[in-house]
Symmetry: D2
Subunit: 234 residues, 4 copies
Amino acid sequence: MVRRPDTPGVFHSTEPAWNDSNLRELAGHISSPLFFTHIRAAIGSAVQQTNCHPFRHDRWLFMHNGYLNEFATVKRDLVLAIDPSLYPEIRGQADTEVLFFLALTLGLENDPPAAVEQAIGLVEAVAARHGVPNPFQGTIATTDGETIWAFRYSSERNSRSLFYTTDVPTLRKLYPGRQLFQEVSENARLIVSEPLGDVAGVWNEVPESQCGIVGPDHAEMRPFQPKAPATPSR
Amino acid sequence: MVRRPDTPGVFHSTEPAWNDSNLRELAGHISSPLFFTHIRAAIGSAVQQTNCHPFRHDRWLFMHNGYLNEFATVKRDLVLAIDPSLYPEIRGQADTEVLFFLALTLGLENDPPAAVEQAIGLVEAVAARHGVPNPFQGTIATTDGETIWAFRYSSERNSRSLFYTTDVPTLRKLYPGRQLFQEVSENARLIVSEPLGDVAGVWNEVPESQCGIVGPDHAEMRPFQPKAPATPSR
Amino acid sequence: MVRRPDTPGVFHSTEPAWNDSNLRELAGHISSPLFFTHIRAAIGSAVQQTNCHPFRHDRWLFMHNGYLNEFATVKRDLVLAIDPSLYPEIRGQADTEVLFFLALTLGLENDPPAAVEQAIGLVEAVAARHGVPNPFQGTIATTDGETIWAFRYSSERNSRSLFYTTDVPTLRKLYPGRQLFQEVSENARLIVSEPLGDVAGVWNEVPESQCGIVGPDHAEMRPFQPKAPATPSR
Amino acid sequence: MVRRPDTPGVFHSTEPAWNDSNLRELAGHISSPLFFTHIRAAIGSAVQQTNCHPFRHDRWLFMHNGYLNEFATVKRDLVLAIDPSLYPEIRGQADTEVLFFLALTLGLENDPPAAVEQAIGLVEAVAARHGVPNPFQGTIATTDGETIWAFRYSSERNSRSLFYTTDVPTLRKLYPGRQLFQEVSENARLIVSEPLGDVAGVWNEVPESQCGIVGPDHAEMRPFQPKAPATPSR
């Protein structure tokens, strides 16, 4: 009898993805209804597994393509705002891990968009206090294993790109002869930083300052607007 | 639709097993009807993934707890005896990898006990030519994904230990109150270098110079006797 | 013209020391009038270079054989007591790194014994607040490149061992025929966790709760007594 | 008293050079009258220290920017041509390591240009036998610690680039105001795959099919022409 684990499995490696034979093995032997993949180009912090995305807490995964600007300047204030009960779980030194634990502190498990809005709002408030310009840049994805929340935002409103695929039924109608679109499941979705391939009608850009939500039978796009927490944790 | 891969997946790591968080993740999330595990204490050759057991060729896995004595002395002759079509598959520098490709050259896929007897016979013949004493030491396990062949042998007839578990129906009768024995499947088997735990009646030692065979509905023990190939490959 | 660097060089590796070929190369090609060596058996925190001892700040090195008990419980309070200007230098998650930055905060560069007494005193005070027993265990060594300060202490007064070598002139008189004692320089000293070899008269144990100081022309032993900082940093 | 080692020290790492903190430490603390540096982009063989250049034998270092075409096809014949006494020294699976041991077999230590001409000649002869086109590509550098031999060659006569610096006295006359050229020693030379910076008159290209030789008081350029060994080793 196979017991299903309660938390997602995570494989972290510091080898270049294209030369990592364990990654190739795992990708060829594991299937999952939902998975996150992240390739990190380290800026400043060490190349070590504890700095690799996605980060995990219970059923949640969190990853980020971007950065907190001048992280060394704002890090201490942000870490102090993390719930002390979560603090011991911080394992690395990545800006994204701190952001994840801030979002958890601010309610990620109950209302992900609101929690991420508050976490980035807090980042922007702390950065303002220290005179750090353009505090947040990037796209974020988080999941509880059922639904994916994907965010595109930057303090300067000039954010890294984020794309999602058209729903499969529409693609099947557009390209009745394409075998691939017949083979993938009807509710398959990819959310990516940059489009893969250039088939017309497949990729849709998430607009600036938006949050996309994709669940088992639900897909939605909402405006995203950071809000510093009413009482800044300190 | 999930496609089942044709070859076993392999995870190799050079981190100490007790500190390898990827290993812990994988062990917690993957189930398999048959798996091999190996911890290597390097003697001489480099600590790198390409020297890690088990080694793989198509559906076959092969691992070894032991060594070829004075491997540097006999290596060249042994490598020359490997089928040239298999030669490019050698990826590391481990003695066991060479032994595996010798066994494949000598028919492992058709008759594993005969092939391993010939491979070790060849090792002993080459070692004799070079004046190397006690050429082979250890236990070997190999599988095609359905059946496991496990060998205990050393040229000096003083081999590292090898143990296997009593069949589960017998264990259930012996220990009707043990929950573990109720939970494991009826045909579960462990074959290990050293017993785990000390419950009486669980562990049976494979005798010196024997080969154990365990298949889906078959288990057998046979004498093992190396035989140099009639016409030594050179 | 060779410029001499202002800070000590550090080599950190996560491979087992006995299999690390870079370590063997460096040890065979580099000479130094003063060096620190540390082998870490990780307890809890990740096996990664940023957790490897010795830790460095400017001209200072710091290493520790031991642990802060229940570090996850006391870590947050201790990290908050680190000077905010030093905080961004924390690179890993090791208890010893936090202790080092506490000692720097408390004046390590001016009065090492007093700073370490205060740092451990603070650890003991924070642990008491959280009900953590036996807060500190181990031996510590720190250097500014000229002098070495070595500490043996544990909150339970049952500390890991620490040994130092008899001065070379005395060893030469004791063993006039030993070539090794003729070859080493007159003021050579080893300070180690456990004695190497068993030549009588070579090794002397640092007593419980003592601090040994060895400088270019100075060697001294002092009592060591933790003192929580007057105004606990918070 | 510091003993000078008889062989060059080698540091090999599989981390990206720009993120390797050990490399940064070593580069900041070690000085040498002659050093080799190599960054490898793996093609096919594993990313592991034993595949990293430069390779070493006694006082000799050897590195290569390029490849043996279809190495898997020609590898076995080339390895068989290596002197059996050198064979056990092969530690990795890189084409360049095999080429190095072929050159050593063919007299590298006595006449480097002739040995490299024969080694590449043998590669071309073996490749011809197997129908492999364009067998060799790249630039090679080798040294005995005193003199550097640098080769630019490819079977198709369309070789990767190789540059060397103008002698320092000339550069000082050309740029009397440049501090850097005053500071470096009078006989400093860089030999590189691609020019660093774009100061006019600094960089000179090694022409196609040439070997450059730079010794303590000697610099020379010679034509390079592979020659298969008279009696092919087999």
